[in-house]
């Protein structure tokens, strides 16, 4: 059976930060396909398969969403809420990216219904642990060469 690729949606408006995340996933011990959007509305379109992301073959439902909180046009919180209230897609694992420990604590305390919180810059170890914890269905640890991808 073929190794399944982990599909990741990164929602981040800071291009430098997005680049850092991309590089992190280059070293990820599993095959993965990272897609990047820069604002909340695009994120929702992607997750729900709407707008320009209708094509699910090209834009599969993400196995994991990495969500920055402060986004233009649609707030990270709003994205969370909208996803969580979706009839079928509410269960998608979403990890919130925060810029500081304080922010992470605040976010957690305010019951953002994320599956986890990670401080930027993202650490690859932390990330893989998280993925394991979240029991995300995906490829069982392969050493295939990383397949960097960018939209």
């Amino acid at each position: 059976m073929s190794a399944r690729t982990l599909n990741i949606l990164l929602v981040e408006d800071n291009l430098d930060h997005a680049e850092l995340v991309r590089r992190t996933f280059e070293h990820f011990p599993a095959a993965n396909s990272l897609h990047h959007v820069e604002d909340g509305e695009a994120a929702l379109d992607y997750i729900f398969g709407e707008g320009r992301y209708e094509d699910r073959l090209r834009f599969p439902v993400p196995d994991l969403v990495l969500l920055d909180l402060r986004l233009p046009r649609l707030d990270g919180l709003d994205v969370l809420r909208r996803v969580r209230s979706h009839p079928s897609l509410h269960g998608i694992p979403i990890v919130v990216l925060t810029t500081s420990d304080t922010e992470r604590d605040l976010a957690a305390a305010n019951e953002y219904r994320a599956n986890g919180f990670v401080c930027k810059p993202v650490d690859v170890q932390r990330l893989s642990h998280l993925v394991q914890e979240l029991d995300i269905p995906g490829p069982g640890g392969s050493n295939l060469p990383p397949d960097g991808d960018s939209p």
């Binding site: 930060h17 850092l20 500081s100 922010e103 930027k120």
Partner: protein, 785 residues
């Protein structure tokens, strides 16, 4: 007196007598005796025949009746001397006695004698001169030798004297009886034999003895009766039993009853010719007197107790000198009692009283008034024995002490009180000074809110001047500004309920309309019994402080916002730097150099971004120092200047800018205001939809009570949820646009510094946006009201 020589006809035969003489001697002797008896007797002897004709009339009869024998013998009847009424009565009595009718005449006597009855009756004889004379008439029959009745002999004794004695005796007796009955004492007379000889009604009443007991002369029953009522019968027993005491002594004692009555008992022997024949007892109910004396003793005792135990000095005077004084007096005046008693009234006072009058004079006046019955109460300066003076409160009262009218003077040393009063006065003065000079306004309110007192500062606060004549002080609640009256009323009600305003702020209005921010503190005032009677309100003008506090609050908020933003917005580039530095290290370790240049560039750019942010911060922080004192600014001119400055950008975008011509002038720092307008216009140019020519309008409108300047565009608009955040530091709606994003933050700070407000009005995306700002001008009120 003519002596009739004829002897009685049957005298010798009817008068048997014995003697030692015989024969004719005997006859002579008996005749002599008869003569002596008849002639010299003191009694009147009248003999009659059976018809009543007088046959013999002795000298005594002549003397008694005033007739001579010669005139009467053989001529008249003896009945003529009698009163017909008496005769008739006698006849009736006789008829009753004999049981047959008796004719009222001489025949009655004859009948009486014949019936063998001896008649000893008192009659009234009529003398010749008409005067009546009472006599005792004894009638016997005159018999012959055969014993046949031949006549009557009456012996009449003049009982005038006896009658008089009897009358006197009767009179005395009735007087005695009246006295006995009239006396208030109960009297009992007992004979030596133990018989009750006399008693009066009072005795009955006093002892509540039934009459029958006394009439029965039952001494034992009486004794029992009496003993039962006494409170100590045993003690009385022996004495009571001796009601028939035969001693000659007078006795006296007091009897106490179980029912509280008290009797005095007195007895003395009844003597007749020096011999004790009985004893007379008299009893007097002295209950009232007894108890009066007892109560007098009690009240005197009470008085004595008060006198001795009082804390005040008590002196007794008759109006001239001191008669007595209690122990406290000795202490108060530092003078032994014996040096007070006998002294004149002026002795314990200085020569003169504070009003200048002589003490003795005033004292005399007061004492006289008290003696007249008007109690006196006054303050006085007294002098002790050593001459030192002290303040006293004196009260004078008249009263009777052991029968004498005296004045009781009660003297209280009020030195302590005077000191306390002086201290209180001083305290009040101090308090008044404090209230009058306090920088806070002080109001004293009734529970209804009516103003009782208003300190000068309060008058100044509410009326603008403390020189106002005490105005008709309106209800305190009206002093609150209209907007806050309800709140003021609520606070007042809370105060009445015990919840006091503590540092509550309220806008209050002065008479001339000027408003100021007042800080209120209040407390409920209670009287000595804890009952609330008023409210004390302290009002402080804190307008300046309010403004400072608002400023401080604003600064703090901004600082927080600032700090948050700084830590946040600077963090982003830091993350970039950190991240790419890490990537560089990894690459270097692995010998990879492909991304070296790119990564380093990112780092440098990020650092540069940080530097920009920090510079922007610095600019913002220095706004305060950069704002110049306000002057009148022509907004028309200012707008024109801005448009001139931006002429290039405007032309480049092909923007149309319309500026209203009659913008009201503003008050502020022209340079800073220009920066604000410039910033807003630049934003408007930036946020126009790409491809179309921006349309910008600059003008002024009325918002509320103020003038607001606005810069309106028809660009991309701003969604309502971003209306606040766009003014935040570094917030950029579009991260891709140039600039650091402090423009609006800076504009906001400048406008706020002028005391105005800056905000955006925009319906949402694609609806354009209107940035408005106000500049309040001269009034100092903070926008945070």
């Amino acid at each position: 007196m003519t002596a009739a020589k004829s002897g009685p006809t049957d005298a010798a035969a009817g008068a048997p007598f014995r003697s030692s003489l015989v024969g004719t001697q005997q006859q002579h002797a008996s005749e002599a005796i008869q003569r002596a008896i008849v002639n010299d007797a003191a009694c009147a002897i009248i003999a009659t025949d059976l018809e009543g004709i007088i046959t013999f009339f002795n000298p005594a009869a002549e003397q008694l009746l005033g007739w001579s024998a010669a005139e009467l013998v053989g001529k008249h009847t003896a009945v003529q001397f009698l009163l017909p009424g008496e005769l008739a009565a006698h006849a009736r009595r006789l008829a009753k006695k004999l049981g047959r009718p008796v004719e009222p005449g001489f025949g009655a006597f004859v009948a009486e004698v014949r019936a063998g009855l001896r008649s000893d009756v008192e009659w009234t004889y009529l003398r010749r001169d008409g005067l009546p004379v009472p006599v005792l008439l004894s009638i016997t029959g005159l018999r012959d030798e055969g014993g046949a009745l031949i006549g009557l002999v009456g012996v009449a004794t003049d009982i005038t004297d006896r009658r008089e004695v009897e009358a006197a005796l009767r009179q005395q007796h009735s007087l005695l009886e009246a006295t006995l009955q009239a006396t208030a004492d109960g009297i009992l007379a007992v004979s030596s034999e133990g018989r009750i000889t006399s008693y009066n009604r009072q005795f009955l009443e006093l002892w509540r003895v039934p009459k029958e007991t006394l009439d029965a002369s039952d001494m034992n029953a009486l004794a029992d009766y009496i003993l039962k009522q006494l409170s100590n019968p045993a003690a009385m027993q022996t004495r009571v039993r001796h009601f028939n005491d035969t001693s000659k002594a007078d006795t006296f004692d007091t009897l106490e009853f179980t029912d509280g009555r008290v009797f005095e008992r007195f007895s003395r022997p009844q003597l007749v010719a020096g011999r004790v024949v009985g004893r007379v007892w008299s009893f007097r109910d002295v209950t009232a007197r007894h108890w009066a004396v007892a109560s007098l003793r009690t009240s005197e005792h009470k008085f004595k107790m008060l006198f001795d135990s009082a804390k005040d000095a008590i002196l007794i005077t008759d109006g001239k000198v001191f008669l007595d004084c209690n122990q406290v007096s000795e202490t108060m005046f530092a003078c032994p009692r014996d040096q007070i008693i006998g002294q004149t009234l002026g002795h314990l006072s200085p020569e003169r009283q504070p009003d200048g009058r002589r003490s003795a004079e005033i004292a005399a006046e007061k004492v006289q008034a008290a003696l007249a019955g008007a109690p006196q109460s006054f303050e006085w300066i007294h002098a002790r024995a050593d001459g030192t003076l002290f303040n006293a409160e004196v009260s004078l009262n008249r009263f009777e002490l052991r029968g004498q009218t005296v004045i009781q003077a009660i003297i209280r040393d009020i030195t302590a009180r005077k000191l306390a009063e002086a201290a209180q006065h001083e305290a009040e003065q101090l308090y008044r000074t404090l209230v009058n000079t306090s920088p806070d306004g002080i109001l004293l309110l009734e529970l209804t809110g009516r103003v009782l007192y208003s300190s000068p500062k309060a008058l100044e606060l509410f009326y603008g001047s403390s020189e106002i004549d005490p105005p008709v002080l309106s209800n305190a609640l009206r002093l609150a500004g209209k907007l806050h009256r309800r709140r003021a009323a609520g606070m007042f009600q809370d105060a009445l309920a015990g919840k006091f305003p503590a540092n509550e702020r309220l806008v209050m209005r002065r008479r001339d309309g000027h408003e100021f921010v007042a800080e209120l503190n209040g407390t409920l005032l209670r009287d000595g019994l804890g009952v609330p009677w008023g409210v004390l309100a302290i009002i402080r003008d804190v307008t300046d402080r309010q403004r400072q506090e608002d400023e401080l609050k604003r600064k703090n908020t901004e600082l927080e916002r600032f700090t948050y933003t700084v830590s946040h917005d600077l963090r982003s580039p830091l993350i970039t730097i950190k991240g790419f530095a890490g990537a560089l290290l990894a690459d270097a370790a692995a010998g990879r150099t492909a991304r070296l240049h790119e990564d380093l560039t990112r780092i440098v750019l990020a650092a540069g971004k940080m530097s920009e942010l920090l510079n922007g911060l610095l600019v913002l922080s220095r706004v305060g120092r950069m704002v110049n004192p306000p002057v009148e600014v022509s907004m028309n001119k200012l707008v024109q200047d801005v448009l001139d400055l931006l002429a290039g950008s405007i032309a480049q975008r092909q923007a149309r800018v319309m500026a209203q011509p009659d913008l009201p002038p503003a008050h502020g720092d022209p340079q800073r205001l220009q920066e604000v307008v410039q910033n807003l216009v630049e934003n408007a140019l930036k946020f126009s939809p790409p491809g179309s020519a921006p349309e910008i309008e600059i003008g002024a409108k009325i918002v509320g009570y103020q003038t607001a300047y606005f810069v309106r565009d028809h660009g991309i608009g701003i969604e309502p949820r971003f209306h606040e955040s766009i003014f935040g530091l570094f917030n950029k709606l579009n991260p891709r646009t140039e600039g650091v994003g402090i423009g609006l933050a800076l504009a906001l700070r400048i406008v706020e510094f002028h005391g105005g407000a800056l905000w955006v009005e925009s319906a949402g995306a694609g609806q354009g946006a209107s940035f408005c700002f106000t500049l309040p001008g001269r009034k100092a009120l903070s926008a945070s009201q």
